[in-house]
Amino acid sequence: MVPLSFAGHEFLTRPDGALFWPARRALLVADLHFEKASWYAAGGQMLPPYDSIDTLRQLDAVVRALEVEQVWCLGDSFHDAAGCTRLSDAAQRLLRDLTQRTRWTWITGNHDAGMIDHCGGRIVEEAQVDGLILRHEALAGETQPELSGHYHPKLRVSVRGRRVSRRCFVATPTKLILPAFGALTGGLDAAHPEILRAVGRGAEALVATERKLLRFPIAA
């Protein structure tokens, strides 16, 4: 985990894309997309039915390791509004356990708006915490510092003939976009025009490695 200062607050970034807020013992994760595989299976693409349990186990491990007290999910936590009803028994148990052990907040996104069931936790459209706005999708005209998800940013670079692709944060002085945490969530290039439109000029892609936070300017 490596430190990141944003809008006057100190955070720790993790290579898996989660953001830890030590002052509040809070964990922020974006775009879990639970039951994405089964959503596709219903349409005939039989993706492995292990994405939810995999994502939950990873999340559970982080919550235990960092003694997390509150969890903020920044939207698209379920791949669709009915996603929770399709969770396997094991996944439901683990999720209920997590939402009981921590103060758990679901911020809704475009995929899970109007979710039917959620195995505990409270549901909000957006939230304000210590002067930071938490929402699913970055708002272009927002003047306050804002944390969001939605875009699944990913950095791709090629060095000495080898291509490296990693989940990354996209940051400006007032906006921080988290990468997707879900096991089956693909990525959008950090320099994609849609991301640049959302965050404006002067953005950086931040890649957390085990040792340090790497910063890559994003060419507009």
Partner: protein, 816 residues
């Protein structure tokens, strides 16, 4: 050319032709060739047949002749009579000449139609209700035809299926698919005859077995065409010295241009797309007479390729620089010279490329090989000797892909419900699946039905269900539509479109190549020097520039040196009597090597170690081809890491592998032990991009995921899933899943040449000769000069690479 233009012989034609055919030949003053008549005899005897003949022997007509004969004899009865399957979509030219023209000239009222992905849907529908006598199609389109419920009626009248260019694809996945389709067709039309047309191949019996139902080789008549005139092949040497390094023969531009000037039309074959671009640039600079020349490769936009092909057909070009995209089929009568830039890699491939020139059997084809370096000179020499000796590269027939089987079974289910036991029996009639076991077959069915996972989560989403009669059927019509949209065997790498700012598309480049570019970089493409303006997820926007371009590197698996050429090159090293044939500098190179180190015997594995500029080098001359050497390099450097030798990297070519490290290798035998294949190899392949690439392919072909259709672009909002992530999840939760097995088999067999790697390691213990030298040996130079484009050692390297990239990016973006 259709037939021998010879004075009519006194001997009667045997077997006798039907009158219209006989008169047609006579009217042209032609005599049917022996093999054409042999094909007719096989047909009349009801036998399947394989025709092996060189280009220009009138193979296509030989394939159609029995069908025309039979259709004439039976008065052109309604119904589909003959199915012609070609690996190419562009069938028009050859078929016009060999089928439509004769039909027209004989005044036969036969309908001939084509069917491929480009055929309009109303015509496709009509073809099923009112079929032509002869239908020309591809393996993929045939498989789709078999997915229609009325396919049993369509094919019940079928008498013959003719497979063209069978040597080009029988051993690949498209061959697997066609083989399964043949088994299906045989069930729908039990008397159907199978006919295959092949270029000259090393092992015709292998193809007979592939063609035969249930591998019954005796049911297939072998017909051999007459041998053409021996080709006239020369090796082009540079005016000064044979270069130490390089693969391209770029030094020879002026000499190649001189060949172009003295011939009517020349095809210049290059082994890679990037080389084709570079050679085109070089030739253009040397083109003082301003002759019209063009470039053709698979990355160019389809319109650009069509334009070049049309210009060639009209005789408007004097030379075409091309890649393997021209290896098959496209026949231009006016080509009279073929030039191979760089080493040919195999004698069969060289012969087939040479066959593009001069489609007249009785005149020698003219060809020139331009070796890129000293080893390539030896390889070119070896190829010429092999061609002269009639020695061809072996084709390896492998068990069929399980992904292809899944696609075929889904197609069958779309046509009609089937009984599993009957279907298994039918599938085993296809040679690639003859050893398929019951359990694997069951797993493939379950995979199609619901993914076949141990966690039975998708019972309510099943695509296939077993009904009360025990028949497997598609559960909903939407899955039939889905299958037809996604079926196919060729899975393209993800690509970016190369465009000008005004939107005009020049072609595509593979994503990993685009990822190595940043705005301001220049590269050659479509015969132009282009500067990158910007790129996003789907487009690489460029403008033309006068600045010199950096070398594009389209990498990926390469065509490796064939085993028979490798054997011949090893033979040269050990046999100084042969050296008299070589140019002075190549001979001198070998002589100094013999003086300073040794020249290994044909069965010896020479390993040299020496220090140089603070590093220690180990070079192994294993001659197992680029792909096997790449894999070996990864494994050996890992092992060196384990032995604390501090490896820095490795480089490889088709002939040798060089590893370099901070500490010297003193016991090379410990690095080359066969157990490396059990531990390090498995670990490495599982973590490598190879397996992910293989997984993506089997996931698409097997129908797990839908293919990304060009035009239906990934928009910013609709981010889909990546097969790399599916692979990761599946490996963690169900490592013995059918698709992982299929991907693993592909990666092993088709991507890493593991067979050759295994052979090498098995004999390394007994055959290794280690020479510890005070300095670099002459033989080591061609591989050592590759350093600079090095592969870094494994380990935590990804993070280090990212850190380097950060420093570079900071430097590049600094605004001071």
């Amino acid at each position: 050319m259709l037939a021998v233009n010879a004075p009519s012989l006194s001997a009667p034609i045997d077997p006798p032709l039907t009158a219209p055919l006989r008169d047609w030949f006579a009217a042209r003053g032609w005599q049917p060739r022996r093999h054409q008549l042999d094909m007719l005899a096989a047909a009349r005897a009801g036998q399947h047949s394989l025709l092996v003949a060189p280009t220009g022997a009138g193979k296509t007509l030989a394939g159609f002749l029995p069908s025309l004969d039979d259709l004439i004899a039976h008065g052109g009865a309604e119904g589909l009579h003959t199915l012609y399957v070609s690996p190419l979509k562009a069938l028009a030219v050859d078929v016009q000449r060999n089928l439509l023209t004769p039909i027209e000239e004989m005044g036969l009222s036969l309908r001939v139609e084509t069917r491929s992905g480009d055929t309009p849907s109303d015509r496709k529908a009509r073809q099923r209700t009112r079929p032509p006598h002869i239908l020309l199609t591809t393996p993929e389109s045939l498989s789709l035809l078999l997915s229609y419920p009325d396919s049993d009626q369509l094919f019940e009248t079928l008498k013959t299926v003719v497979i063209d260019e069978v040597h080009a694809f029988a051993t690949q996945k498209r061959g697997d698919l066609l083989s399964l389709s043949l088994a299906r067709l045989q069930r729908l039309a039990p008397d159907m005859r199978r006919v295959a047309l092949s270029a000259t191949v090393a092992d015709p019996d292998g193809y007979r077995a592939w063609l035969a139902p249930y591998g019954d080789i005796d049911s297939v008549a072998k017909v051999v065409g007459e041998k053409g005139a021996d080709p006239d092949i020369a090796i082009l040497l540079p005016q000064d010295r044979v270069p130490w390094s390089g693969h391209s023969g770029r030094y020879a531009a002026a000499q190649v241009m001189a060949e172009i000037e003295t011939h009517q039309t020349t095809i210049v074959f290059c082994n890679t797309r990037s080389l084709a671009e570079l050679i085109f640039q070089d030739l253009w600079k040397a083109n003082e007479m301003q002759l019209p020349i063009g470039v053709h490769h698979g990355s160019l936009a389809r319109e650009a390729r069509r334009k070049v092909e049309a210009a060639m057909a009209d005789g408007k070009l004097r030379a075409l620089v091309a890649t393997a995209s021209l290896d098959l089929g496209v026949d231009w009568g006016n080509v009279d010279c073929v030039i191979q830039m760089g080493a040919p890699k195999g004698s069969s491939r060289l012969l087939q490329r040479i066959g593009r020139a001069n489609h007249r059997l009785d005149e020698p084809s003219e060809a020139v090989v331009v070796p890129g370096n000293r080893f390539e000179y030896l390889e070119a020499r070896a190829a010429l000797d092999a061609v002269e000796a009639g020695e061809l590269d072996p084709d390896i027939f492998r068990p069929g892909g399980l992904d292809v089987l899944a696609q075929h079974l889904m197609a069958c289910a779309c046509a009609a419900p089937f009984d599993a036991a009957e279907m298994l029996e039918e599938v085993r009639g296809a040679l690639p699946y003859s050893a398929l076991d019951d359990d694997t077959f069951e797993r493939v069915l379950n995979f199609i039905a619901d993914g076949g996972y141990a966690l039975r989560a998708y019972d309510k989403f099943k695509r296939l269900t077993k009904d009360t009669d025990g028949l497997w059927r598609v559960s909903h019509p939407k899955f039939v539509t889905q299958h037809r949209l996604n079926a196919g065997i060729i899975v393209d790498a993800s690509t970016l479109d190369v465009r000008f700012k005004n939107g005009r598309k020049l072609g595509t480049v593979e994503e990993y190549f685009a990822a190595s570019l940043t705005p301001g970089d220049t590269f050659f493409f479509a015969g132009m020097s282009l500067e990158v303006e910007r790129m996003d997820a789907i487009d690489l926007v460029v403008r033309a520039t006068a600045r010199p371009a950096r070398i594009p590197s389209y990498s990926g698996a390469r065509m490796p040196l064939s085993t028979n050429l490798a054997r011949r090159v090893r033979g040269f090293l050990h046999d100084p009597e042969q050296w008299a044939r070589f140019p002075d500098d190549v001979r001198e190179w070998l002589e100094v090597q013999r003086y300073r180190s040794i020249l290994p015997g044909p069965d010896q594995l020479l390993v040299e170690t020496f220090p140089r500029e603070g590093r220690h080098y180990m070079v192994a001359y294993s001659f197992e081809g680029w792909n096997a050497h790449q894999a070996l390099g990864m494994l050996i450097t890992r092992r060196m890491e384990g032995q604390g030798l501090k490896p820095l990297g490795f480089v490889a070519n088709d002939y040798a592998l060089a590893c370099y490290s901070l500490d010297p290798v003193t016991d090379p035998a410990s690095l080359f032990s066969p157990d490396i294949l059990e531990h390090e190899f498995v670990e490495w392949v599982q973590g490598s991009a190879l397996l992910k690439r293989a997984f993506r392919e089997v996931a698409v072909i097997g129908g797990l995921v839908e293919r990304q259709h060009p035009g239906k672009r990934k928009s910013g909002r609709q981010v889909t899933f990546s097969t790399d992530l599916i692979y990761d999840v599946l490996r963690r939760y169900e490592p013995d899943h059918l698709l992982l097995r299929a991907a693993w088999e592909d990666a092993r067999a088709r991507m890493t040449d593991v067979g050759r790697l295994g052979d090498l390691l098995d004999r390394a213990g007994d055959t290794m000769v280690h020479r510890d030298l005070p300095r670099v040996s002459p033989l080591a130079v061609p591989v050592l000069v590759l350093i600079g484009r090095e592969n870094v050692a494994q380990g935590s390297a990804d993070d280090e690479l990212l850190e380097q990239a950060e420093v570079l990016a900071a430097e590049a973006m600094a605004r001071d």
